[in-house]
C-alpha cells in the first residue's frame, strides 16, 4: 500500500509543478516572518517575489547547524511561539542545544510523512507497531507515534530500554512492526536467546530502523536473527525528525518525500550540484513547514541519489544509505555526538586545551560503548590516586551530562594519543556497522 499514492507516484512534471508552487509561497513567507532569514536572503541578493520555480532554489543561501546554534533559541523560527505546539531539543555541538518547533500543521505533516514511512516499509492498516525508539526530547519515539496514529495502527509505545519487557510485550501482543535503532534490534536478539526465546520465531516481521548509520551486513544479521524484513528510515530533527526518507520492500534506496522535503546533492567542497549518482552532501529544503522552515539545510550526511522510478511504483528520488559525514559527528546509540562537546567539558575543567580521544566500539552485545581517553598532562597530574579518581569521575559525569550517553573515561599518559601532523586524532570508530 502507498499512503499518498497520488503524490508519491506523481510524474516528474507534476511533482516539479507542486514543488515550484510550494517554494514560491515558502520564500516570501520566510522573508516576511523571520528577520534572520530576511537578512540572509537580502545578503544573497534574493528577491522573494522573483522565485518562480523550484529551479530557483540554487540561488538561495544555505542554512547550517551553526546558524541554528547562533540564533538559538528562536532566531530561525518563522512562526511566533504562540503558534508552536511542540518543541524538541537536542544537545548542540558546543554549548547551545538545537531547538526545533512544530506548529499544529507541522505535526500533521510529521504524521503524514511518518504514515508514508510505515506504509513504505510494508505496514498495513490493522497492524500493531511496537515503538522502541525513545519517547521524549529525542524525535524518534513521537515521530513514529504520530505516523502510526495517522495510519490507524495499534500502537505499543514501549520507548527504548527494558529489554525483557520489550520481549514480553512482543510475545503477548504479537506486533508485526518494530521501530527502534538497528543496534538495539540486534541487542534484543541476543537478550532473547539468553532468555530462552528463539528470535527467529519472533512476531516482528518488519523493522523500521534508523537514527544511526548501519550497513548491509548489519541488515543481513538483523534479518537472519529475527526472520524479518529490516528497512532503513532517514530523518533529522532539524528537518522534521524521522520521516524524511524510507526504504520500500525492494531495499533499493530510501524514497525521499521530495514534495515536502526537497533534496539536493552537492559537492561539499565547491557547494555546486554534484553530478547525478555521485556521492555528495545531502541538502534539504522544507517546502511546507511553518514553525521553523529551513532553506537548503546542510545535513552533513554524504549520500548519492537516483531519480528513476522504483519497482514499487514510487517516483520520488532515492538516496543511498548514509556513506559518511562532512563533519566529525558520530552517532552513538542514536544520539549525535560531536568531539567539540567533549572538548568543551574538558576545557571547562582545566581551562586549557586538553588532549583527548574518543573511542567508539560495538562489542559482542551490539550496544555502542564510548571511551574517552584523556591525557594526564603535568597540569592535570596529582600524585595521589584519590585526586586522579576524583578527576576521572568529574570528567565522566560532566561528559555524560552533556551527551546523555554513558561514557568510560580512561586517563592515559601524556603524548600517547595518536597525532598526525601535530593534530590529535579525535575519534577512533572501531564499530563494524
Amino acid at each position: 500500500m502507498i499512503w499518498k499514492e497520488d503524490i508519491e507516484c506523481m510524474d516528474s512534471t507534476g511533482l516539479k509543478a507542486l514543488q515550484s508552487d510550494y517554494l514560491k509561497k515558502l520564500i516570501p513567507y520566510i522573508y516576511h516572518n523571520c528577520p534572520v532569514y530576511r537578512q540572509k536572503l537580502d545578503a544573497a541578493g534574493v528577491n522573494p517575489d522573483r522565485i518562480k520555480s523550484i529551479d530557483d532554489i540554487k540561488r538561495l543561501p544555505f542554512t547550517t547547524k551553526e546558524d541554528m546554534r547562533d540564533h538559538y533559541p528562536y532566531g530561525l523560527f518563522s512562526a511566533p511561539q504562540d503558534r508552536i505546539n511542540e518543541i524538541h531539543v537536542s544537545s548542540g555541538t558546543t554549548g547551545n542545544p538545537t531547538l526545533v518547533g512544530y506548529t499544529k500543521d507541522d505535526l500533521k505533516l510529521w504524521g503524514d510523512v511518518m504514515a508514508r514511512v510505515l506504509c513504505c516499509a510494508g505496514a498495513e492498516p490493522g497492524d500493531t507497531i511496537q515503538i522502541a525508539y525513545g519517547y521524549g526530547l529525542f524525535t524518534g519515539g513521537l515521530g513514529f507515534h504520530y505516523g502510526a496514529l495517522e495510519m490507524g495502527l495499534r500502537i505499543i509505545p514501549t520507548s527504548a530500554g527494558q529489554t525483557a519487557r520489550q520481549l514480553k510485550i512482543m510475545q503477548d501482543f504479537q506486533p508485526r512492526i518494530l521501530g527502534c535503532t538497528p543496534s538495539y534490534a540486534l541487542y534484543m536478539a541476543e537478550e532473547a536467546k539468553e532468555m530462552g526465546i528463539d528470535p527467529t520465531q519472533g512476531h516482528w516481521k518488519i523493522g523500521v530502523f534508523g537514527a544511526e548509520p548501519w550497513s548491509e551486513s548489519m541488515r543481513r544479521e538483523i534479518e537472519a536473527a529475527w526472520n524479518m524484513l529490516a528497512t532503513d528510515v532517514y530523518g533529522l530533527s532539524e528537518i522534521i525528525g524521522p520521516g524524511v526518507a524510507q526504504e520500500c520492500r525492494h531495499k533499493d534506496g530510501l524514497h525521499v518525500f521530495s514534495d515536502v522535503f526537497f533534496p539536493e546533492i552537492i559537492d561539499p567542497q565547491t557547494d555546486e550540484e554534484a553530478p547525478e549518482g555521485q556521492d555528495g552532501e545531502l541538502v534539504i529544503t522544507t517546502l511546507t513547514k511553518q514553525g521553523i522552515p529551513l532553506i537548503r539545510y546542510r545535513t552533513r550526511d554524504i549520500v548519492s541519489a537516483r531519480y528513476e522510478k522504483c519497482r514499487c511504483g514510487r517516483t520520488s528520488p532515492r538516496i543511498s544509505k548514509i556513506k559518511g559525514r562532512t563533519d566529525d559527528m558520530i552517532v552513538v546509540r542514536g544520539i549525535n555526538v560531536f568531539p567539540s562537546q567533549i572538548e568543551h567539558v574538558l576545557v571547562g575543567i582545566e581551562g586549557t586545551q586538553p588532549q583527548y580521544q574518543i573511542v567508539v566500539d560495538r562489542k559482542a552485545h551490539h550496544l555502542d560503548e564510548v571511551e574517552v581517553l584523556v591525557e594526564v598532562e603535568q597540569r592535570f597530574f596529582s600524585d595521589e590516586i584519590r585526586h586522579l579518581n576524583d578527576l576521572r569521575e568529574r570528567i565522566r559525569k560532566e561528559i555524560q551530562n552533556v551527551l546523555s550517553v554513558g561514557v568510560k573515561v580512561t586517563l592515559v599518559e601524556p603524548k600517547t594519543i595518536e597525532r598526525s601532523v601535530g593534530k590529535a586524532k579525535r575519534i577512533v570508530d572501531k564499530r563494524t556497522l
Partner: protein, 144 residues
C-alpha cells in the same frame, strides 16, 4: 626532607620499561619503589639517589610526574616498632595516605616511607621524632 618521585604509568606492556630506561640513561640509582595499581593505570613511586635529576629526566620526556616531600622514618627491625609508629600518628589524628617500607640488611634497620596530607607533614615529623624515631633527611636517605 625526603623526596618521593611519583609517576603516572598506564597499565600496559612496556610502559615501565620506558621509564626505567630513561632513569638508567640518567644514571639514577633506585633505592626503593612501589606501584599502586588502579586498573587501567598505576602510580609508580620511587626513592632515588638524585630526585631532581630523575624528575627532570622524566618531565622532559613528557611524563606526568611529581616530586613530593614525604616522611622517611628509620624504624629498627624488631616486632612492635611499626605499631609504635602508627600508634603515635593515630593518637594525633594524622592520616597516612600511603606507605611502604624496606629493610636495609647490614644495619637491621627498616625504612618506612610515608605520605601524609601535606598540611600535616611538619606536625607528623614532630610526632614521629617525639615517639623516638629518626626521620631521615634526604641526604641520609639517598646515601644509604
Amino acid at each position: 626532607m625526603a623526596k618521593q618521585l611519583t609517576i603516572f604509568v598506564e597499565n600496559r606492556a612496556g610502559r615501565l620499561k620506558t621509564i626505567t630506561d630513561n632513569l638508567r640513561k640518567s644514571n639514577i640509582d633506585i633505592r626503593a619503589f612501589t606501584i599502586q595499581d588502579r586498573g587501567d593505570y598505576g602510580l609508580l613511586k620511587l626513592i632515588v639517589d638524585k630526585p631532581n635529576d630523575a624528575y627532570l629526566a622524566l618531565a622532559n620526556l613528557g611524563c606526568a610526574c611529581a616530586l613530593k616531600d614525604i616522611l622517611a622514618i628509620s624504624v629498627p627491625d624488631q616486632p612492635g616498632n611499626f605499631h609504635r609508629l602508627t600508634s603515635a600518628l593515630a593518637e594525633h589524628n594524622v592520616n597516612v595516605i600511603d606507605a611502604y617500607g624496606f629493610v636495609l640488611q647490614p644495619h637491621n634497620t627498616g625504612v618506612c616511607c610515608m605520605e601524609v596530607d601535606q598540611p600535616q607533614l611538619m606536625k607528623a615529623q614532630e610526632i614521629v621524632a617525639e615517639a623516638g624515631f629518626t626521620v631521615l633527611q634526604d641526604e641520609e636517605l639517598y646515601s644509604l
